[in-house]
Assembly symmetry: C2
Homo-oligomer: 360 residues x 2
């Protein structure tokens, strides 16, 4: 942070912001608003992680929305989550409407701990909120030499295959697996053709939406992002994406006892309603199955074959899942996080209201 | 079976075959060829299940190929699988190059048994073969009031995103969840734009392949199914399908200690080579998390919302995963399995060689 900069002086352009300063700012904004200090620290860390790896749609851009929801009472802090033991290896965490990042982080920690003892840990979460980047939680597992899986449901946005009503959430699947070089395979994909946050970003930037992403009530493709809130997202890959979205709904919504997606209000349009989002976290300790050395060797053989395979014309390199994130992270840790003007503007305005100085 | 029909008299047309007779025939053909009687029974049951639900590409059509592989020594019976305990809840089964259906069936039974005790059971399989319809195994779990997940790798066919070499298998994901009405949600999808068996069926029927399914070494779309064996399949949904295929490879290949897909020979073109396919089975006992009544209610609310949502023009009904399979099963159990002429011809020829009568 630079306490000498007055918020009125800021020009509204893209800016490169030091990640540690941005994290401190986000944490302070949360604390100043009344969020528990420990929770604020975790939520800020995970938001800035998303920005660092280039997944800005899950980053600090969301801070003002979170705070409006917190102020309206639909998100709570401290949330004092309950850990309810269901078997030696299964827990359900009641998040008491806390920040999804905080509750999710605790739940994955528990899954990792259980996996270390028993080989597999499965921790469901109910009464939570938007948890941000699924890749963060599965990377937690991977950094601890486990495979990680994370699922979450979300507000109703996605039509079933053949349908036009948004009934499922974008219901992402995340998977992480460590490699010898310290990096992790990171899969994190919504089961819809686009995520809700990508659409909002497109609207902010005035970008057209390609065909086959959104449908209106008459079943026609919607290309104007400003009409996105009234339209339904289509599942990715047609029936297959719908099937996977329903699987995620059952794992994260049905069996956790949380809301199912059709019951979840929009985090952006219905501020005052508790979302009661459900998540599911699974950690798998592969060192119970083979030596870690053997695991590294096998991963190297697989990833080497994939990366060294022949490329389509115009493709420079076969990228494995997570590779773009590692590179963006490395670049932005050095050069700063490339925040867009809209985010800078909205955080500057937030800082003004909270009487905080901004790190730019 | 009708012992009075001589195989020479058979006309080569579509035929409706009683499923019990077809299953007896398949089992007898396996036994007569030297396959262990118990294994033959299970393999026949699972092949005919695939035909019954209308997934003919995983059905008795494959019997001659399996038998050629068995005769060449690359598939073995009896396989006497080893169950290697890795923790209270994790096992790896060494299938000793046995029939994938038999080994897969035993592994899912074990996962279900463990889940009943501990909440989650995870059973990997190494040194197995093509296991047929993933939906069968997850339905085993669902019929026992569990959620089921099944993954398998397969011979190298699928290019990474941006690539043109087939390095991954079609690596399907299967998921099953029971419902109050006795039916199960059944997800079973390859992570490629098409399965290998669908391509072979297309070649048999002389059907053109749509664009975006196959690429040749120059990166061009391949539409003639006869050129499919030299082409690579593309992942479904681009990068997302590739990410999921790699996840399946890690779960079923890397951590089971089996072959990884790039090492797996074609089951059709390299008969004499052991495939050493890997699978992964997970069963989840949701009754540890909530009452079964509560689970049924929650599933009904979810599925009801999906099915009753508005349809696109020209769509008669929103179908949930598994629904087409249940209906096809019900129809074919009554009317007989609608086997195509090619399959009838090939099984008739097999019967002749084995001196068996055919059930048509």
């Amino acid at each position: 942070m630079n306490p000498s900069t007055s918020v009125e002086d800021i020009s509204m352009e893209h800016m490169k912001i030091d990640h540690a300063s941005l994290e401190r700012f986000a944490s302070e904004a949360l604390r100043t608003s009344g969020v528990d200090a420990e929770e604020a620290k975790i939520v800020a860390r995970i938001m800035v992680w998303a920005d660092l790896v280039g997944r800005f749609s899950q980053g600090v851009w969301r801070l003002p929305t979170y705070l409006r929801r917190f102020e309206s009472g639909s998100m709570r802090s401290p949330c004092n989550p309950d850990f309810i033991k269901k078997s030696e290896i299964m827990y359900v965490v009641d998040g008491h409407n806390g920040f999804g990042q905080y509750v999710g982080h605790l739940a994955m920690l528990k899954a990792i701990e259980i996996a270390g003892k028993h080989g597999v840990g499965m921790v469901g979460v109910r009464n939570s909120n938007h948890f941000g980047p699924g890749a963060y939680y599965v990377e937690m597992a991977a950094k601890d030499s486990k495979l990680g899986l994370a699922f979450t449901n979300a507000g109703r946005r996605v039509a079933p295959h053949g349908g036009i009503d948004g009934v499922l959430g974008t219901n992402p699947i995340a998977f992480g697996a460590p490699m010898r070089n310290g990096k992790s395979i990171l899969v994190d994909l919504s089961t819809s053709e686009s995520s809700g946050s990508m659409l909002r970003k497109a609207a902010e930037k005035g970008q057209k939406i390609r065909k086959g992403v959104l449908v209106d009530k008459s079943g026609k493709s919607v290309e104007d992002p400003n009409n996105a809130p009234q339209a339904a997202l289509l599942p990715f890959g047609g029936a297959k994406g719908f099937c996977l979205g329903l699987m995620v709904e059952i794992l994260s919504g049905v069996i956790t006892g949380s809301s199912i997606s059709p019951e979840i209000p929009s985090a952006h349009l219905q501020m005052e309603k508790s979302a009661k989002v459900g998540h599911q976290f699974i950690a798998i300790d592969f060192s119970k199955l083979m030596t870690v050395e053997n695991y590294w060797d096998r991963m190297e053989a697989l990833i080497g074959t994939v990366k060294n395979s022949s490329k389509q014309a115009g493709v420079d390199e076969i990228l494995i899942p997570g590779e773009t994130r590692w590179r963006t992270d490395q670049k932005q840790r050095t050069e700063g996080i490339d925040l867009d003007a809209k985010t800078i503007e909205s955080l500057t305005s937030l800082a003004k209201n909270l009487k905080l100085s901004v790190p730019w």
